[in-house]
Symmetry: C2
Subunit: 351 residues, 2 copies
């Protein structure tokens, strides 16, 4: 089992180092090879996604990514910017399923702007389709109408097979969780999502143990605030998933804790924290490595099908929190403020 | 100044009666004429939007609506259902600008699932375009691809003039408020909203006193939870506005308090509470009339340009709350539970 380790920019190298430390401590024969991406790729090879990095990613079973981006690259031509490396690797690897958990540990409930009783213990998995929908649909663009004014158009578009494959990801994940899927659409207005709903209903027949429900996207945006713990797995298209996964992540109040995964059709995946590269605190050993460590746990679960070791990492994170260890971003009065490396050590010790 | 009063179904008649009582108490020469809509229209004339009701609405300067809908009409053919009356009157009157305030009185802050300090005093005005965007764009539908699978498509579409007229509504409102407009788009991905942003920037030149900012829709969904009080006027397209206005309303935790307005190009408008017809509590004198009373205040402000009397109603609502009057939906220990009519009386007394 081979992992391409792409630390990237900013705090990427230090947070990824902690996740690597945790994976090594499991001692389960993972082979890890490092390569540059983003600004680091540009520095090393003049390309935010160097050929050698892409080749390594393709030859590996999974990719562990830190984060890309730094203000110092803002003046580069668009195709040389760090973010392009990320977009290109996602596309090259056909990562169509984006998994965004919103999980709030009871110890961190006070970080949320919501009342603790509303969000404590929150554990939602948002499955977002990542390669279709209105973000990619043709025709698109700005054109001139006959009356001389401009008009912008974009096209929302989903085929049955695109819907079915992301649905399958959601149902499979639900089988590993609480067997509940809420499919989010706007089927009362948009035909594309009417088809979405039909395909989900058909697919549900293959998963008799899973309880499928449907919700309109505007109601989902409300329900995430009113009673977020009603949700387990949510599945939705690219644009709705973009909005709802960000909304759900903010419910936790601690983005430094949230991992993510992007999977292809064979469960090969890229795993990375939901947060960014935070160049302002890079190299200072103050970053929170837990989102990256939890991303490594997701890798074990979804790509390597190793639930036992995934849970072992997640339990170790919980234990480190219970023991009072906190990085600066999640520190509160009465807890023990530690640096990035020390947090990694605390998780290793708790394994 | 003539107002078409359309009470509708469920709690509609009793809440509208309180708003009418408040408007009459102002004694400013408003002529009001009642007509049936929704299920009441169907009962009276076999049509959820009887011709006479539409004619009255067209001949009036503004429409005050209660709510439509009752389970007993669920078995009617689609075109006879109460909701069709509402959709048709909006279309017939060309109401393209939907104004949805999210306002939280300090006395009611505990009703929110958010911490009181995060939402107390919240006062956002969301301006949503209501007649264009992907909800109406052509082409649309579900068709068969050559490979035998179905595909759904919908089209997001905005012309410059459509964007400019809704932008103008937002800037005009901002001039009556705190002179801040946040335009929400997804200009980094969707060309339609790239045009949206360009037009907003052009339009802002006509309003040098207004500070215009831009935010991506996914970030807006987050910021509404993280720090909702940063917003004053938000303006956005139909689908984003659908999602964000519902999300923002839920921040308050008391939908029984939220008015709304839908305006045409001449500020003729239809005013109605954001909540529904609640047939389960209809006729029991327990409904909350404040959203409807506040809708009447919006009517004075936006259609009759009578800021002074609008504020007088809003201040009277605040005073009634400060005096401890509460309908059942917003009642908490230690406050004075009153019925729908008594709440209307409390507002009249506080005028
Ligand atoms: Mg996003
Ligand atoms: Mg809605």
């Amino acid at each position: 089992m081979k992992i391409a380790v792409l630390p990237g920019d900013g705090i990427g190298p230090e947070i990824v180092a902690q996740a690597v430390k945790v994976l090594n401590a499991l001692n389960i024969g993972l082979e890890m090879e490092h390569a540059p991406i983003g600004g680091a790729g540009y520095e090393a090879a003049g390309d935010p996604l160097p050929d050698a990095t892409l080749a390594l990613a393709k030859a590996s079973d999974a990719v562990l990514l830190g984060a890309v981006g730094d203000w110092k690259y803002d003046k580069l031509e668009r195709h040389l910017r760090p973010e392009r490396g990320l977009l290109r690797i996602r596309k090259e690897l056909n990562l169509f399923a984006n998994l965004r958990p919103a999980l709030l540990y009871p110890e961190l409930a006070s970080a949320s702007t919501l009342k603790p009783e509303v969000v404590s213990g929150l554990d939602i998995m948002i499955v977002r389709e990542l390669t279709g929908d209105i973000y990619f649909g043709q025709p698109r663009g700005i054109s001139m109408l006959e009356n001389g004014e401009r008009e912008g158009i974009n096209t929302m578009r989903y085929s049955e097979s695109e819907i079915r494959r992301i649905g399958r990801v959601a149902f499979d994940i639900a089988m590993k969780r609480n067997k509940k899927v809420c499919s989010v659409d706007k089927a009362n207005v948009l035909e594309t999502t009417e088809l979405w709903r039909q395909v989900m209903i058909e697919l549900a027949k293959e998963y008799p143990e899973v309880e499928l429900s449907h919700m309109y996207v505007d109601n989902a945006a409300m329900q995430l605030i009113r009673a977020p713990k009603q949700f387990d797995v949510m599945v939705t298209g690219n644009i709705f998933g973009d909005i709802l996964s960000d909304e759900a992540s903010m419910l936790t109040g601690s983005i430094g804790m949230l991992p993510s995964a992007s999977l292809d059709a064979n469960n090969k995946g890229m795993y990375e924290p939901s947060h960014g590269s935070a160049p302002d605190i890079a190299g200072k050993d103050v970053a929170n490595p837990l989102a990256t460590i939890l991303s490594a746990a997701m890798m074990l679960r979804y790509t390597f099908n190793d639930e036992a070791h995934a849970v072992r990492i997640e339990d170790a994170v919980k234990k480190a929190l219970a023991q009072g260890f906190r990085t600066a971003d999640i520190w509160t009065e009465g807890t023990n403020k530690v640096g990035c490396a020390a947090m990694g050590d605390a998780v290793v010790a708790a394994l």
